[in-house]
Amino acid sequence: MTNRTVLTGKHFIHGDEACAEGAIAAGCRFFGGYPITPSTEIAEHLALRLPQVGGIFIQMEDELGSMAAILGASAAGVRSMTATSGPGLSLMMENLGLGIMLEIPCVVVDVQRGSPSTGLPTMPGQSDVMQARWGTHGDYEIVAYAPWSPQEMFDLTIRSFNVADRYRIPVLLMSDEVVGHMVERVVIPPADQIELWERKRPKSPPNGRFDPFLAEDADLVPPMVHAGEGYRIHYTGLTHNERGYPEMTAETHHRLVTRLVQKIRRNIDQITLIEGYYLDNARILVISYGCTARSARRAVREARNKGIPAGMLRLISLWPFPEEQVKTLAKDMDAVIVAEMNLGQVSREVERQLRRAVSGVYHAGGAMIPPEPILNAIQEAAA
């Protein structure tokens, strides 16, 4: 039988479609979403594909409901996803916090456009990066990946599901309009070569009391039970104890929030993805991500052609911030440049980590940053 679930082979498709196929290949069987440019093709493609593989597609009444629905479906044991852009992401922030607090895995794709507010619906931006990090209220860690190609839209969607399930956390796939609408070759591997990580499950069948938030392992991730399995669990967005019951004391709150943060910080090595280019003997480091990293790599290559010792670090995972790798790489650099399609978001995090000034190549969004301003910044640093 032809496997219609994983469309193994070489395809010439855009990033949004690659993301949708990545979700199908990852076993995502629930999508709840609301149309919004430039992410809508993900919903459209999943509306076509999910019913073919026994999955559920529902167009919700808004992004508040979309985010709530995917958490509910995931709580029932189904890999679930939504896709949106800036204005929708703002609305999802409420229940993103619920997902963090209830430790319900899911994937939220943000195909970024020019913002704030309605901004530039059909044009790219990278200005939701800090909202991804701090957009919902409270103290927490989050996981976010930034694809730079349709191939990575496929690969990182699968990765996002795996990390979400492994660490019981919503994962953000921070794409942008350029990558979402760019058409390139996407290679989909055979199904048996796609690595899927399982949710950690309880060791014993339901038998009396069960503490759904008791994390006994070193990774601080409690095993997950799903609705209808007989464990009779209670989940609440209130501060809760290991039993899942509300326990509104300063001590319990500190214990819970610290664990939610530490379960990501402790496992950062398993979550982080970075890629380096032209780093041999580099003295000038360019840091970039998403579509801007495509221009940055070109700029660095041209700098090398001119004999300038430039190198590049591409952040594939934005959050948790790969601070050790950035610090190690930047240690011996004469200059650090950050290129991003906003007016300085990741650059501030880089400065915070390195405790030194970096130069930024910024643009508020609407069009890809071309290689030239990045090359100019490299040449200035080399001068």
């Binding site: 709840g32 409901g65 509910g72 009779r232």
Partner: protein, 277 residues
């Protein structure tokens, strides 16, 4: 032989998280009565307790999820319905009840409420209507009668309230009824009935909130409000009342119509499934 006043257990302990008692509700509050009806209906239903799931939003009524010894999800303000929709669609064998209050379901969650009713998703909604925001201290809400006082309407509520059965009927719910916390047998039977009724069902339960609503509106206590229910409630027969007459103002000596308003069979929402080509 004397009858013990304090006993070790209650017949409904097996359905409640009795280790969480006492509950948070005020003396005279009606929510516990409605929760008892729900618990009794769960025990009497044909669906195993393990397959019952309850979700709720925020507010006094939202705390019901935390007291039921079922798989239970206390979600965000207004979002119990879309969360429940995800649960139900992902695992159709579950019997998913949404138990929450009027402010949660109808104000902040109003959009989800009407769209879930329009889609006719197979959810069992029990909506406590106590005409105000109780947990935050007696503010007016979407069901507060015009002129009634609340802590955010010291001069009287300037707004008109929703008529919930009318709203739900127009939105497309398969089943719409109204009871009060005085009508415990009817309410339990009605909840039980909705478990066997496919599609979106909505039960409005009028409940006293003597601290939040009664105090500001000259309803002395919970018992007084129960007395009003007994004096004014009129059980309707099919179609014998205009929808507009379903409005409620406890301060006026007018009939409160209760009973089953809508019982129909629009097809319940079913996700599309196709054979792969």
């Amino acid at each position: 032989m004397t009858t013990p006043i304090v006993v070790d257990s209650h017949p409904l302990d097996k359905i409640f998280r009795s280790d969480r008692l006492p509950h948070i509700w005020c003396p005279g509050c009606g929510i516990g009565i409605a929760m008892r009806c729900y618990g009794q209906a769960v025990l009497e239903s044909q669906v195993p307790e393990e397959k019952h799931v309850v979700t709720s939003g925020i507010g006094c009524s939202g705390r019901v999820a935390g007291y039921m010894y079922l798989d239970s999800y206390h979600t965000t303000h207004g979002r119990a319905i879309p969360f429940a929709a995800g649960l139900k669609l992902a695992k159709p064998e579950l019997m998913v009840t949404v138990f929450s209050g009027d402010g949660d379901l109808v104000s902040i969650g109003g959009n989800h409420l009407i769209h879930a009713a329009r889609r006719n998703i197979d959810l069992k909604v029990i909506c406590i209507n106590n005409f105000n925001y109780g947990m935050t201290g007696g503010q007016v809400g979407p069901t507060t009668p015009k002129g009634a006082r609340g802590t955010t309407a010291p001069y009287g509520n300037p707004e008109l309230p929703f008529n919930l059965p009318y709203l739900m009927a127009a939105s497309g719910a398969n089943y719409v009824s109204r009871w009060t916390t005085l009508h415990v047998r009817q309410l339990k039977e009605d909840i039980l009935y909705t478990f066997s009724k496919p599609g979106f069902t909505f039960i409005e339960v009028l409940a006293p909130c003597p601290i939040g609503f009664g105090k500001s509106n000259n309803i002395e206590d919970g018992l007084e409000e129960m007395r009003l229910y007994r004096e004014r409630c009129v059980l309707i027969e099919d179609g014998d009342v205009y929808a507009e007459a379903l409005g409620i103002d406890l301060r006026e000596d007018q009939p409160i119509y209760i009973g089953r308003f809508i019982d129909r069979d629009r097809p319940a929402f079913k996700p599309i499934q196709v054979e792969a080509g």
